[in-house]
Structure formats: C-alpha cells, structure tokens
C-alpha cells in the first residue's frame, strides 16, 4: 500500500536523493505524512492535532522573540514587559499572540482530549498514545503556570505563591521541597529566574513528547468517528493531499478566531489585576488562576475536609493531581470493547454530563467559595456546587466507566468504514450508515 523505501515518483531529484540516501528524511516524510493511509471518515474534530502542532510552533516562535526583550528580574520584569508592549516594534503583537496563544492552545487541547474520550481513542491498542498525551498535558500545564509568573503582576506573584505553597502539604519533605522550588523563603527573584529558564526549556520537552506521540499514532494508525478499524484501502485516503488540505482549512478558521481576539479583545481571557505590578505585601481580594486551570483549582478547593488521616490541604492537592491521574489510567477504567460513543448510548449521555460537569467546575473555580450560586438561595454556596461537581468527576471515571464496561449494551457496529460511508449498511439503524464525510 505504501511506497517502498526506494525513492519512487517525486523524491528523485539529485540533491534530494543524495541527502535521502544518507539520512532518509525525505522518504520518511513521504511515507509518514504523504502516503500515510488515514481513515476517510475523519470529522472536523480530527483537525486539532495539526492545530496543536501549529500552536506549539507559534508559541515557541513568539516566546523566543519575546525572550530577546524580557528581563527575568523582579525589579525589571514588569517594566520589560511594558517596554515590549510600547517600544518594541510589534512587541504588543508578539505579547498578545503569546498570551492568547496559551489560551487557544488549551482550547485546542481540551477539544482534542474530549474528542479522544468520545470516540474511544484511548482504548487499545492506543493506550500508550493516550498516556503520552497526558504527559504532554502535564508539561503544558507546568509551562503555562511558569509562564504566567514571568510578567510579575499581582496574579503572577500570588498565583505562584498559592500553588508553590501547596507542595508543603507533602508529609515530611513538603517544606523542604517548597524551599527548593522557591530558592528562598518566598516567591522572589530566584524563583522568577528559574521559572524563566524552565519555561524556555519545557516547550522543547513538549516537542519531544509530541514526536513520540505521533510515532505512537503511526504505529497503530488513527482512530475514526466510528471506532471501527480500517479494513483496506477502500476505508482510507492518503494523508496528503486530503488531510493536509482539510487541516489547513481547520487551521485557518482556528487562527481567524484567535486573531479576532488578539486584535480586538486581547485581554478578554486575562485577569485585569495582573496589570498591577506584584506587591508582596498586598494580597488581592480574589486570587484566581487563568481560566484553563479553573476546573483543577475548583477540585483543589473542594476538598476542604480531612479524609481519614489525610489532612484537607494534602487531600486537596492529591485530588487535584488525581484528576489528571485518572486520565492516565482511563484505558483500564473503561474496558468496553466498543470505542466510539456513537454506538454506546449510555456512555454518550454520561460523556455530555462529564463535559457539563467540567464546565461547571471551571465556573466554580473562578468564584469565591462562600458566594451563593444563585442570588436567591443563600444556603447553596459555590463550595457546595464544588463538592457535587468534584464528586461527579471522580465518580464518572472511577465508578461509572468500569460499570458501563460491564453493563452497557452497545449498538451494533458497522462492518467497515466504507460500508458505513458509502451507504448500504448493517441491519438496524440506518443512522450508522450515514456518510461521515460532509464535503
């Protein structure tokens, strides 16, 4: 199906042949990105891998050019960012691209993850692919956390203070770890400096894990909306030009939306308080992380009670990291042999409920715990809503999914992709036989 390793067809001109016979980059690209057979029925949610790759490149490029102008010293950082905004040619553009880029990176990452959860892309044989993805998510979260500290605004400082303080919850070594992280007795210059160094480094680690992620993907091949393996060439199309073309459409639309924010509402996703320079002696009224951390922040705050011998602070930290931990073991929590939610009527409902739950968790994370949820009912507070949504999150993964694997009766699967795409179909629901491709 795919071309042999000899240069056939186009990869033939002199220089290309010379390089390729010594270092087969061209034939590798030809095999893995041009001829690579991909299921023909991808929907638009499959665009987000390419979008994420673009976002990573964009963030690295804007980051490097920002780093040329930024000074990681507590006395100079805030002013250096303002200098970028005011005096550096197109500095405001670089800064807003980078800040909004982070937001859109997470938008894309969450869509990409939820796609995986809906269509069972985490199931065998793609377990390792999924876990590498969770590693990327963790690295991304660390990168974003450290990056937000660099402008040295009020939220930069206080967010860093709150989150680094959490590590003191670790028994025995907690305080030593925090001192090690800080490089001092509080978040201060050593902290800022090392966060800058690491923030510069981590994206390249992410890049490396992304390469592993894509290699793993190419070993198993891509999943598809039906969750049914391709049976032959009638089920697939070569990645180039079909998906290179389709990905560029999705990318263009995504970038258009991002540009609208960058140019016309560049501070929409940000926290105004971060335009005040960090003041270690003045705590802001409300310390909130960036929106993409709000669900995790909500889970952290929801555990405000001791669990057995584990005190509330530690329990909250464990729950927060546990929320990502359950993602790691997802392939083993959900043992249903059916991949796609299309054929799992019960799972499908719970998927949407989980999504709603995550959105509400985000809302909870952004509000003071003591506020009432609805103006009329003072007794039902944000913290209570936090309890419910946190509980449901873990219930979904740890209880529901394993049970569904046992008790759910899935719908019959189509025999193949092309059969479903090209019409005809299995006995029963004609719905499964609708063409997936809405060209």
């Amino acid at each position: 199906m795919s071309a042999g390793t000899n240069q056939t067809g186009g990869t033939g001109s002199g220089l290309v042949k010379w390089i390729d016979s010594r270092l087969p980059v061209f034939s590798y690209m030809q095999k893995e990105y041009a001829e690579f057979e991909a299921p023909r029925n991808f929907n638009w949610f499959w665009n987000f891998g390419a979008i994420l790759t673009f976002m990573l490149v964009l963030m690295i490029m804007t980051g490097i050019f920002l780093a040329m102008q930024y000074t990681p010293d507590t006395g100079l950082a805030f002013d250096s960012v303002e200098r970028i905004m005011r005096d550096v040619n197109f500095g405001w553009l670089l800064r807003y691209l980078h800040a909004n880029g982070a937001t859109f990176f997470f938008i894309a990452v969450y869509i990409h993850m939820f796609r995986g959860m809906y269509y069972g892309s985490y199931k065998g044989p793609r377990e390792l692919l999924w876990m590498l993805g969770v590693v990327i998510l963790l690295l991304l979260m660390a990168t974003a956390f450290m990056g937000y500290v660099l402008p040295w605004g009020q939220m930069s400082f206080w967010g860093a203070t709150v989150i680094t303080n959490l590590f003191s919850a670790i028994p025995l070594v907690g305080d030593s770890i925090v001192t090690l992280l800080w490089g001092g007795f509080s978040v201060d210059n050593p902290t800022l400096n090392r966060f800058f160094a690491l923030h510069y480094l981590f994206p390249f680690l992410i890049f490396g894990v992304v390469i592993l992620h894509v290699i793993a993907l190419h070993v198993t091949g891509s999943n598809n909306p039906l969750g049914v393996d391709p049976k032959g060439p009638q089920d697939t199309v070569p990645f180039h030009p079909y998906y290179t073309m389709k990905d560029s459409v999705g990318l263009a639309v995504f970038v258009t939306i991002m540009a609208a924010f960058v140019f016309f509402a560049p501070n929409f996703f940000g926290e105004p308080e971060n335009y005040l320079e960090a003041a270690p002696l003045v705590t802001p009224a409300h310390i909130v992380p960036e929106w993409y951390f709000l669900p995790f922040f909500a889970i952290l705050r929801s555990i405000d009670f001791n669990i057995w011998f584990v005190d509330a602070k530690l329990a909250g930290v464990l729950a927060m990291f546990g929320a990502i931990g359950v993602l790691f073991i997802l392939p083993w929590l959900d043992k249903s042999p059916v991949r796609s939610a299309k054929f799992r009527p019960m799972y499908k409902w719970f998927f949407w409920i989980l999504l709603l739950d995550c959105i509400i968790l985000g809302y909870v994370g952004g509000k003071p715990t003591d506020d009432p949820v609805f103006a009329g009912a003072e007794w039902f507070k944000i913290i209570h809503l936090g309890y419910i949504t946190t509980f449901w999150y873990f219930f979904h993964f740890l209880i529901l999914l394993p049970l569904l694997g046992i008790f759910e009766r899935p719908k019959p699967l189509p025999k193949s992709i092309s059969e479903a795409v090209l019409g005809g179909g299995t006995s029963g629901s004609a719905a499964t036989a609708k063409p997936m491709e809405k060209a």
């Binding site: 303002e82 005011r86 560029s248 140019f263 009224a285 929106w291």
Partner: protein
C-alpha cells in the same frame, strides 16, 4: 442517534463553554460596590480611536491635578506625539520637570530638565515616600489603571465622578472618603476633581464629568498606546484570514469531491 443530534449537542456544548468563559472571566462583583454604568467611549469598538482632543485635555488634568500624587512611569514625554502634540510643544511640557541624572565626571548625581526621551517624572522617588506623604496609602501609578480593573474605563470614570455624601447613618472612617464605586465604599483618595478645577486651554467647560471623561480618555491611551495600530492591523488580518479560510474550504471541497461517496 445520528450526526445531526450530535451536532446540536456539540453546538450546545460550545454555547455552554462560551457562556462559562464569559461568566468565569467576568469580574466577581467586588463585594458591595455599586454597579458601574456603561459609557460610550470614542475608543470602543472595532473602529474605535482615541479622541485626541479629549486626551490632550486629559493630559492637562493629569499634570495639574493627578501628578501631585500619581506617577505615570510607563509613558515617556516623546509618546505625546501620538496625541498630536508637536515636538516643540512636548519639549516645552517636559522642560517644566526635573530629572535626576548622573553620575557626572565628579561622580555626583545632578538635576536637569526632562527631555523627550525621559519617562514622565514621578512625584515621589519611591513607594515609601509616596505612602509617607499620603497617610500610608499608596497612590497607584496611573499608566495601566484602565486595564487593571474589571470595568476598565467605565469604572475609573464612575469612580472619579461618583464621589457623594455618605448615606445617612454611615460612619466614614477617619482619613477615608465615601465613594460607592470603590470596593468597600471607603477610598483613601479625597475627591480629586472640582468644578472648574482646571482651565482648559481649548476653552471647554471643566465640569467634574468633563474632566473625568477627559482624563479617562487620556488614561486609556496611556494604557494602550498601540490600540489604533492594533485595530487597523486587526481589520486587515481578520479580513484576510476570512478570505483565506473561504478559499481553502472551497479548494478542500473540490479536492474531496474526487472521492466516491
């Protein structure tokens, strides 16, 4: 159940996400502060620009009223060219302020008149001096205030024009002033603006609302000097991207129409 049903759900989810983003990113109303009124600023909207005349008056308000306590460190005198001042005019404004420079050849610091390249001279050498002069309260630097508060320009305008007598029975703590828009209602800054407090060089009547309006226009510019360039570029970029997306989509459909359906 079918694609259409899922599409609806996807749309609903998107709507929810957007709503959630809007809710969670909006300011948690700072305690009991009064609701800020929405104003119609010249700089609002996709095509909004800085009202230069208003901003020039605002500069006058800043220099004559605010600069006694508030610094404007992020702005340099040379930036005033954006507001329509000539180089000679800016030089004249700057020359009224003194900057510490040095060390000279004898190793001493000395005073000299400010030049275009200098940042606006601060009223105090450091935060501690500012606090000492203001009963422990620190008058914040004004460069970024419009961006630093949820409510932005509307909030600053409301605050400046919103000083009022405390409601009957309210105890105003010593040294503080009642302002319903300030979180907690008691602000250290006494009402800065008074009717005709400034004599505008263009003859505009200097009511409190007018001065508040002008100084906020000025502060919007100090916070976002790149705004006009950003919006102009944004219009071209987004238009380009919309067209590019359309062309790419058409090309994609053409290409995919090859395949048997």
């Amino acid at each position: 159940m079918g694609i259409v049903c899922n599409l609806r759900r996807a749309a609903a989810a998107t709507g929810l996400i957007t709503a959630a983003a809007l809710i969670s990113t909006s300011a948690f109303a700072a305690g009991d502060a009064k609701e800020v009124e929405d104003q119609d600023w010249h700089f609002e909207g996709i095509f909004g620009t800085v009202d230069k005349a208003s901003a020039q008056r605002g500069l006058q308000v800043y220099l004559e009223v605010c600069a006694g306590c508030h610094s404007l460190k992020q702005v340099a005198y040379r930036n005033l060219a954006d507001l329509g001042f000539t180089e000679a005019e800016i030089k004249a404004i700057a020359a009224e302020y003194e900057v510490t420079d040095g060390p000279n050849d004898e190793g001493e610091m000395f005073q000299r008149a400010a030049i275009l390249a200098d940042a606006f001279v601060s009223p105090f050498p450091n935060n501690e001096a500012a606090q000492a002069s203001n009963n422990g309260a620190l008058p914040p630097d004004l460069s970024l205030q419009v961006k630093a508060h949820a409510g932005g320009a509307d909030y600053i305008y409301a605050l400046l024009s919103g000083y009022a007598d405390a409601p009957a029975g309210t105890d105003v703590p010593n040294g503080l002033n009642y302002n319903p828009f300030f979180p907690g209602s008691f602000i250290a800054m006494p009402p800065p603006l008074a009717e005709d407090g400034v004599e505008y060089s263009d003859g505009t009547k200097a009511s409190i609302e007018q001065m508040a309006w002008d100084v906020v226009s000025f502060m919007q510019w100090t916070a976002e000097p790149e705004m006009e360039q950003r919006k102009k570029m944004g219009f071209k970029v987004v238009l380009f991207l919309i067209i590019l997306s359309a062309i790419l989509y058409a090309a994609k459909r053409k290409m995919w129409s090859n395949l048997d359906h």
